[in-house]
């Protein structure tokens, strides 16, 4: 394995944290999906399962003062950036103790305390926000970096090119992270993206990288380097991460054979799963034993169950909150 040399005792902790975070995301999503299927969750939601190595590989290279902007498929980013299950499930259920007091829901979940500026229900809608966060950092002399998550579909939005141009002109500390999961809704990426996605960033003079989004260490390594370079004023950067979503576009998208085959899904799940891959590596490298891994998984499962139970019991916001927070004081 090419990465062996970088591993060792010192990294064990970081690796276990990455493993744990990936499992936390998968577990969160499985529970969220269950809530939907049992009609306990209002509305729809978009599962991140399968893409865990992207969010975790990136966010583990960031500190709490670094910012991210997230997407409609945002639970993974939120967990990876440090959010806790209770406040997340409360938000998904529209409860007062949710991160946004139930006002945002799955598509607008934000966690300011960990630098998550929020999911966004407008595809590409947060690209300006991320770039603006980076402009603020530069202008105010802060050394934080902002990562902008978005999908392959979002590369069709003109806003991306407008803000990449400015980020490049002004050398802003922002990393554009394109989660290419091969689809936007029910359409294959090649049908909606002409040419090359990384070349588009390069045309603006932005260094761009393609990376295996199912390999958490590869993602993390690259991100660490780019974050360090951003802090030195060498931003912006662009990453295209090859990945896959296991579920449908949203929880309600069940019959999807007309746009993607079961064989393809099976192949990704069985052969490229970011969690199994990493787990096998942890075990084979002696970083964790099977039973330790199982203990981690079990603990996370319990944590999620508790949080779901808590959220189901939690209060809805009082009706009087409906016209609060329209304006800040």
């Amino acid at each position: 394995m090419a990465t062996t040399s970088k591993k060792g005792k010192t990294n064990s902790e970081a690796y276990l944290r990455m493993y744990r975070q990936m499992v936390r995301i998968r577990t969160f999503e499985d529970n969220a999906n269950q809530l939907y299927l049992s009609a306990k969750m209002p509305g729809l939601t978009h599962m991140y399962s399968g893409e865990e190595a992207v969010a975790v590989g990136i966010c583990e290279a960031l500190t709490d003062s670094d910012r991210i902007t997230s997407t409609h498929r945002g639970h993974g980013h939120c967990v990876a950036k440090g959010a806790n299950f209770r406040a997340m499930f409360c938000e998904l259920l529209g409860k007062e103790e949710g991160y946004c007091r139930g006002k945002g829901g799955s598509m607008h979940i934000a966690d300011q305390s960990h630098g998550n500026l929020g999911a966004n229900a407008i595809v590409g809608g947060s690209m300006g926000i991320a770039t603006g966060s980076a402009l603020r950092a530069k202008m105010m002399g802060h050394d934080d970096v902002t990562v902008c998550f978005f999908g392959d579909g979002a590369t069709a939005q003109g806003l991306m090119y407008e803000v990449m141009n400015m980020a490049a002109l002004w050398s802003l500390p922002v990393i554009y992270a394109c989660e290419n999961n091969g689809y936007s809704e029910y359409t294959k990426t090649e049908e909606i993206a002409a040419g090359s996605i990384t070349a588009r960033a390069e045309a603006f003079g932005i260094e761009a990288f393609k990376v295996d989004g199912q390999d958490v260490l590869a993602v993390n390594d690259l991100t660490q380097k780019l974050v360090a370079r951003c802090r030195k004023g060498e931003g912006p950067f662009f990453m295209e991460l090859d990945t896959y979503r296991y579920h449908g576009h949203h929880v309600g998208d069940i019959n999807r054979e007309y746009y993607r085959s079961k064989a393809e899904e099976k192949d990704w799940k069985e052969n490229r799963d970011p969690i199994s891959r990493f787990r096998a590596m942890l075990v084979s490298e002696g970083i964790a034993a099977e039973d330790e891994i199982e203990a981690i998984n079990a603990e996370i499962a319990r944590d999620a169950e508790d949080a779901v139970a808590y959220a189901l019991e939690a209060h809805y916001p009082d009706g009087s909150e409906v016209d609060m927070h329209v304006y800040a004081d």
Binding site: S106, I122, A156, T187, G319
Partner: protein, 331 residues
């Protein structure tokens, strides 16, 4: 008469007009094989092929602009905008380009296109997928704005829109796609600017748009129990607006409530109420009341979202007060 869903009604209207006129085509995200997330367009790509049912990248300003150019040069595009909330993204192409081209060219260029989109909250879709933004486009001269309130209107207005030589925006209510209504097998069109008196009444006029027509009808049912005889009117298009029918009703009943699912302030209800006030002032026994959605972004939590839109109960309560001369605010 057979009953079909609003979704089927739209689908039929599109299919009929596309058969009739080979210059028509549909353009938007996931309109072809997927038939849109709401499945309204299912089957059309099979009949008309991908050259006329065109899947686009997620680039609303882009495909709106493309539609404008196609319309200016001889085609009749039908633009599918997945959520009404995305109108904000295409405002420039819609309002600076499509709406003004005919006028700016001194009548030489025309832009015959239809923008199909939707409105409506209470789907637990939160602030960026629940807006009812008809007031914004109604403010822009050059655009026509249709707001079907049932499958029957959805079909008839769509067919008229496609044949109209101007940019027309049609807002469908997301929550009504599965609602059935009687729709004739034979072809029919509903002319723009003709309101529909859904229910006659003597005591108060309830004017509702789109989703709020049902709310008004239910309120009228509730009011019957109080001996209040409400007239319910659906303007069907807010541009052009059938002032005459609305005024005739209000002159008869002397009282009116205007109900629309867009935000109340600077919204559709203000325009309609103002026209009634201006032109039926001396017939009014009480101020024309407006009921729009609350002036708040649409909250996700069901506990909050349901508070933001007019309901039959709240309309009925206000109607009772109006009829009893209890509008304290107006004193």
């Amino acid at each position: 008469m057979r009953e079909i869903t609003l979704s089927q009604a739209v689908n039929e209207a599109l299919a009929e007009e596309m058969r009739r006129d080979p210059t028509t085509f549909i353009i938007g995200e996931d309109v072809a094989e997927a038939g849109t997330p709401f499945k309204v367009l299912s089957g059309l790509v099979e009949e008309f092929g991908t050259a006329r049912v065109i899947d686009t990248p997620i680039a609303e300003p882009g495909f709106m602009g493309i539609a404008v150019g196609a319309a200016m040069t001889g085609a009749r595009p039908i633009v599918d905008l997945m959520f009404g909330d995305f109108i904000f993204l295409i405002m420039d192409q819609l309002c600076n380009q499509a709406a003004k081209t005919h006028y700016m060219s001194g009548g030489k260029l025309t832009v015959p296109l239809v923008l199909r989109t939707n409105l409506g909250a209470t789907r637990r879709s939160a602030a960026q997928h629940s807006q009812s933004l008809q007031a914004l486009v109604a403010h822009i001269p050059g655009l026509k704005v249709a707001m079907p309130s049932s499958a029957y209107e959805a079909k008839g207005l769509m067919k008229t829109a496609i044949r109209d030589n101007n940019p027309v925006v049609i807002f469908e209510d997301k929550l009504m796609y599965q609602d059935k209504a009687p729709v004739p097998e034979e072809e029919y069109l509903i002319p723009f600017g003709q309101a529909n008196v859904k229910r006659e009444g003597r005591d108060i006029t309830l004017i509702g748009t789109s989703s709020m027509v049902q709310v008004a009808e239910k309120a009228a049912e509730l009011l019957k129990a109080d001996g209040i005889d409400a007239e319910v009117i659906d303007p069907r298009t807010i541009v052009p607006l059938d002032e005459a029918t609305l005024l005739a009703s209000v002159r008869k009943t002397s009282r009116a409530i205007v109900i629309d699912e867009g935000h109340q302030s600077y919204g559709v209800t203000a325009e309609i109420a103002s026209r009634l006030n201006e032109k039926a002032f001396y017939h009014l026994d009480a101020p024309v009341l407006r009921m729009g959605a609350m002036d708040v972004p649409v909250p996700f939590s069901p506990a909050l979202e349901d508070l933001t839109v007019p309901t039959p109960e709240r309309v009925a309560a206000n109607a009772r007060k109006l009829c009893a001369g209890e509008m304290i605010d107006a004193a």
